[in-house]
Amino acid sequence: MAKLSVDGVDYEVADGRTILQALDDLGLLMNGVDVPHYCWHPKLSVDGSCRLCQVEVEGFPKLQIGCNTPIKDGMVVRTKSERVKKAREGVMELLLVNHPLDCPICDQAGECKLQDYAFEYGATHARTEEPRRALKKRVDLGPTITFDQERCILCRRCVRFCREVSETGELGVFNRGDHSVVETFPGTKVDNPYSMNIADICPVGALTTKDFRFKIRVWFLEEPPGICTGCANGCNVFLGVANNKVYRYVPRRNDAVNETWICDSGRMTYKQIGAADRLERAMLRSAQGTLEATAYGQAIDEAAARLRRLVQTKGPGVIAGVASAFASNEDLAIFRRFLAALGTDLAGVAIPTGEADDLLIKAEKAPNGEGARLLGFADAKGVADRIRGGRVEGLVVLGHDLLGPGYFGSEQELAKLDTVIVLDTHRSELERVSHVLLPVRHAAEKHATYTNHAGRVQRSWPVIEPSFEAYADGEVLSRLGAALGLAGFDGKFEVGEVSRGLGKLASAFRGIDLESVGEQGLPVAMKAG
């Protein structure tokens, strides 16, 4: 450890860190101690070219860049002196000499580090009247990114990201001096599974995503925290919310899960929240065989009636439950109790799978496969076999992953079932064989915890209200259980209480609940060691 003094306050920091790293470790960087910077990024190599992070270090006659100055025990740093202020002002002015006045049409406005730092640390007016560089604008840099070469301040974060993180190396800096430009090899594009991260790390509007282009001004957005539900990694995100709608995900830092990154396809799963194919109406199969919209309560009652009839005529053993890895720990806790109270042990979880990589992308393409397993759900292959074998007559299924290639492949084999009750966020082919459809909430619409591939439990918050009637799976099942008169089901669903009870259902969840996991999550008991 080493002692570091910053603006008169003493800190203990780990050995071998630079000034910026130490401040970042302490959670103080731009959050109590201002050392503005462009080219430095906690997860990329040190560049040292923007020169904005200059600070006073006692014993050094010249100002030192915080990103490349290793801490020595007893180091004294000052960030608020006149010299530092003048240096920052100088860097800001010089960066603005060639920067185009695009703010009115630039997506970055409102979250632009050039705007922010110019306002905070720069001069009050521009002195340059020279013509600015005229470079490429609106460059189609690839499937996800639009590039404006004029706005670029040459921090080279994007170049380093492509070389060091995605390891695809599509970008370079051509020429020299003030003719320097970020470029690709002519005819090539930036096309990799993590490409949109370069728009996040670009401090200005040089790199922006095509998806978000001109959609909404960021100052209209609330940015509450949440997690991505695209795979079992559970990358942390901020959801961009306005008008009760989610406009985008941007990655939220979690050094234990996704550092500062998210994959492109995960980032795009925000679209699922407001998708046109959301299941918005409770539905019942009519006597004529058509699906009719109905009141939610009526659908629950009908579901209960159907299940009761099956239990009375064939016994509960003919009823199977298939869980979804999109359901939360709380939802699954209720589902497990529901099936047990119903009297069947035919239960499983259907998990969609796909390709994985060495970086963030996991093979399980849903957020809570591990949670399902810890809560006692085996893979639904067994249940699928029983269904094929004709042993099942009633099915309560969460989601529609049961139709995935590992299980049924299509809904046809389920057509023979007497009763299919579906709780889902989206519509699917499962409708064709369903008797009751009950809309449920997405992670972004409820309080929920999910267990990622590494056993880290993370949570979501309700950041929007669905414009239609929908409830958490757990709440629907609570009401269904009450309608069935199952023991222990009074129709009430208090998610906090359920969450606190997880540890009793599975010891891995001891000490874990909605509150304790907070914004960065917690590892399950056996992983915490």
Partner: protein, 432 residues
């Protein structure tokens, strides 16, 4: 190319007029390679380093860092190979001394390199020669061929068992590759963008290995120091700046060319006694003393000894001793256009202050030159130059700022006249 040996010679260049001095046999006839033999057979590496240290030899590449001290920074032992990089990237405007040292004195330089290699226990030298120096490059190649054929370089140098290889690489037109770490980057096959320091080349140099970078002329002095001793060397020049250097005089003089003289020779003496004074009977206006990066001196301040300890008092420096003489017809604003264009073109582009500052300085001065500037612009120039100083990865930004500061310090009036008259008030000045 005609024979362009220095008009005034000393120990470095006294034989440059003899063609056979450029060949191994002729070089050996005049005592060549004896110092290297002495070093490799009778002295320990440390003894060699101490000798060079004791001589007080300053690097001759422009920074003036003591050579012996630099050599002593190289780590000893360990299993990492040690390298030398010889900086033959001479690109400082006004400087053309390394060129003659390469064209006519390649063996002399190589001997200094071998001595340095022994002192630092280096296994390889990379000579980084600017790409435009095809002639000097050919001269180095010829000398290397001779040395390898004669067993002076390669395995078993001079029969001593010491091994040292020398590789020649040509640059490709980038002034910044004359900066120590820019050179190393270019050597590694990348853009010549200088590195952040620390680490310094002695810790992390060429290809990540400990490396010492020294200038062509610096190496050229070494054999003489070994042959005659540090005290002999200190007999030339001043207390703080011993030895000779080769001053290059250009511009409005009657006899432009090279002059090997002791450090500390007075600038006015060099111009008027050696270089023939100002040509065409004109009056002197200003002199850049050390290559274009160094601040200009007005005619009234050239009574100064050409050594850093004295030039610093006049707010300028020795640099590479490239003396650029300007007479009364010269418009200093036009001169500044040429100067700032150069720095704008050659900036590597990494650091904000350098990349944008060099461009902005050039744009403003160009605008002032054509008569569209204001008094405020002149103040802004000083401010920009101030913001570029002491704040970047390498000293290029300083080198770009200093000339502007020098011009404003001594020739602000030229700028003000452009502003007042809306055009250049020097009808006889060179045109852009």
């Amino acid at each position: 190319m005609g024979l362009k040996v220095p008009f005034v010679t000393s120990y470095l260049t006294e034989h440059f007029g003899d063609d056979d001095f450029t060949k191994l046999e002729g070089y050996r006839k005049r005592g060549g390679w004896e110092a290297a033999r002495k070093a490799l057979t009778t002295m320990t590496p440390d003894e060699v380093t101490e000798t060079v240290k004791a001589s007080g030899l300053q690097g001759r590449g422009g920074a003036g860092f003591p050579a012996g001290l630099k050599w002593s920074f190289m780590p000893k032992g360990g299993d990492k190979p040690r390298y030398i990089a010889c900086n033959a990237d001479e690109s400082e405007p006004g400087s053309f001394k390394d060129r003659i040292l390469l064209e006519r004195g390649a063996h002399q330089m190589l001997e200094g390199i071998l001595i340095g290699a022994w002192a630092m226990q280096a296994e390889k030298t990379f000579i980084y020669c600017r790409g435009e120096y095809a002639g000097p490059g050919a001269s180095i190649r010829r000398a290397l061929e001779e040395c390898y054929a004669a067993g002076i370089l390669g395995a078993n140098c001079l029969g001593t068992g010491f091994c040292h290889d020398v590789v020649l690489m040509l640059g490709a037109g980038a002034y910044i590759c004359g900066e120590e770490t820019g050179l190393l980057e270019s050597l590694e096959g990348k853009k010549g963008q200088p590195r952040k320091k620390p680490p310094f080349p002695a810790q992390h140099g060429a290809f990540g290995m400990p490396t010492t970078v020294n200038n062509v002329e610096t190496f050229s002095h070494v054999r003489h120091i070994l042959n005659h001793g540090p005290e002999w060397f200190k007999g030339f020049g001043t207390d703080k700046s011993p030895g000779t250097t080769i001053f290059g005089v250009s511009g409005h003089v009657a006899r432009p060319g090279l002059f090997e003289l002791p450090l500390g020779t007075r600038l006015d003496e060099i111009i008027f006694e050696h270089a023939g004074g100002v040509a065409n009977g004109r009056k002197l206006k200003g002199v850049i003393p050390g290559g274009m990066s160094m601040p200009i001196l007005p005619a009234g301040q050239i009574d100064v000894q050409m050594a850093n300890e004295f030039l610093r008092e006049r707010k300028t420096m020795l640099g590479t001793g490239g003396i650029i003489v300007m007479d009364e017809t010269t418009c200093m604003v036009r001169a500044s256009c040429v100067i700032t264009y150069f720095f704008r073109d050659e900036s590597c582009g990494q650091c904000t202050q350098c990349r944008e500052g060099t461009g902005w300085l050039h744009k403003i001065i160009t605008r002032i030159e054509r008569g569209a500037g204001s008094m405020e612009d002149i103040d802004i120039l000083a401010d920009i130059a101030g913001k570029m100083e002491g704040a970047t990865i390498c000293a290029f930004a300083d080198a770009a700022a200093w000339p502007v500061q020098g011009m404003l310090r001594h020739f602000r009036e030229d700028f003000e006249l452009h502003v007042k008259h809306g055009k250049c008030p020097f009808p006889e000045s060179f045109e852009l």
